[in-house]
Symmetry: C2
Subunit: 313 residues, 2 copies
Amino acid sequence: MLDSTSGASFSARLDAVAQETEELLDRLLAPSAQPDEISRPRRLLDAMRYGSLGGGKRLRPFLVVESAALFGVPRANALMAGAALECVHCYSLVHDDLPAMDNDDLRRGRPTAHKAFDDATAILAGDGLLTFAFDILSRPETHPDAEVRVRLVNLLARASGIGGMAGGQMLDLAAEGRFAPTAGQVMSEHDVATLQSMKTGALLRFACCAGPILGRASPDQAAALNRYGIGIGQAFQIADDLLDVEGDQAVVGKATGKDAAAGKATMVQILGVAGARARLQALVADAEKVLAPFGAAAATLISAAHFIADRRN
Amino acid sequence: MLDSTSGASFSARLDAVAQETEELLDRLLAPSAQPDEISRPRRLLDAMRYGSLGGGKRLRPFLVVESAALFGVPRANALMAGAALECVHCYSLVHDDLPAMDNDDLRRGRPTAHKAFDDATAILAGDGLLTFAFDILSRPETHPDAEVRVRLVNLLARASGIGGMAGGQMLDLAAEGRFAPTAGQVMSEHDVATLQSMKTGALLRFACCAGPILGRASPDQAAALNRYGIGIGQAFQIADDLLDVEGDQAVVGKATGKDAAAGKATMVQILGVAGARARLQALVADAEKVLAPFGAAAATLISAAHFIADRRN
């Protein structure tokens, strides 16, 4: 386990990236239009800012920054890639909260975007944030080498699309019995793992793979970060399932007990609470193992694995 | 005006690109997952296919192919860029048709995606198609040079996002008086031109700029195609406004008379029918002028300008 010193240091590093990401997104989403843009309609910009600023741990940008730091990538480049990834994450929250989807009124303790604005504006704000992610990634400020930028674009598109996050949300709606042919089907552990690796795992994995791409790491190094990313993605979702069962709504910042109410299979249901906790331990141990070749340089990423497994909100 | 021979040839060229685009999208949206994808959930894939296959003139891919042909770009590369652009166009139709947006039940004579599936699936299918566009553009099959691909990604993101199409849809909803501060405001010709240049103009302009990028054209050549693209975008929308006033719903394939019903300002309302027709003529004349340096090679693009101005659906 971590001692209190490294814990404090970890928390400070996480907060620093959160603040830098906030400042960067605030600047990128300024009212003045960029070259090639005719204007930035105010209502849409406000909704995109509402959906992406002022909240969240910024865990994904943090993982981009820390995975990039291993390979000596300038922090400004990593923060751009992290901001792009955060735009995708935030778009997914705005769309998932819509009445037609999960119908949530509360997100991070604030009204969801469609409550603060309206459904049409929230749909467009999500579309706008998703599109903006690829605008950011493709700019020279993200990396001077076009080959690096276009690899990031392709990997983020794959992680976000039908074979990743969007596909995972589709499976999640089906798991709630929303569509006739799937209603009442019992999900296997494999089914749940597939759903989770797509819905939440794909973006976390991208975060950890972005560093090696930005830093032109060796194939072995890239493979280690890829495996680390897959593992913490699994840990993140198991911790999320535990929070849904055991968490306090006031601390978690969103409604809890929803999975059971929706009749949805989770890893906790399949493995039991003790089994889920054992799985978390194994995933953290594996993260430590795959990062061992990086030595002390990977200490923060190892702390991140503990943080994700132990999180309370 | 065109003689019947070139008219027939134009129509054959347009149909050829439509068929090639259909075949390419059908292949790209196959059930088998791509590398790095875990799976392609069937319901989401079906909805993405429903929203993008089996209809449309494929005008945007056609403009990509023809603008690329001017610079000797291999047709396979242009078709990939065209397919990406068509994914963005189709996503925008799926989202714009949603009950929370324009609430349309009919599109190209078929039920809209949310009618054929459900609202949640249609939202995700739109998200999936938008994301897929950047997947396609960033693949080496689109162009061997990463610098070219990443320029296309950036230009498409700008054309599609808050400073382009999504922003234009926001202005369009506001023009219908959907939001209190804008309700009842009279739009100037400048306001209408801005809305239209963003909502529909930006993607048509991208189509014409894609060729020069794929073909590494000179700045003068790129500027000519950019101006051509802006002009045909304006012509497209004026023709659309005329169709909304004068068109036959059975031929147009969607509801007509909607602008007046929504109290929305159009170029036809501002310029009158005769004034709108005169503007169309001027735009076509300008298209002929800016393409004159390309000589006979630009004949099809000039036919396209006539086609857009004269279209009946």
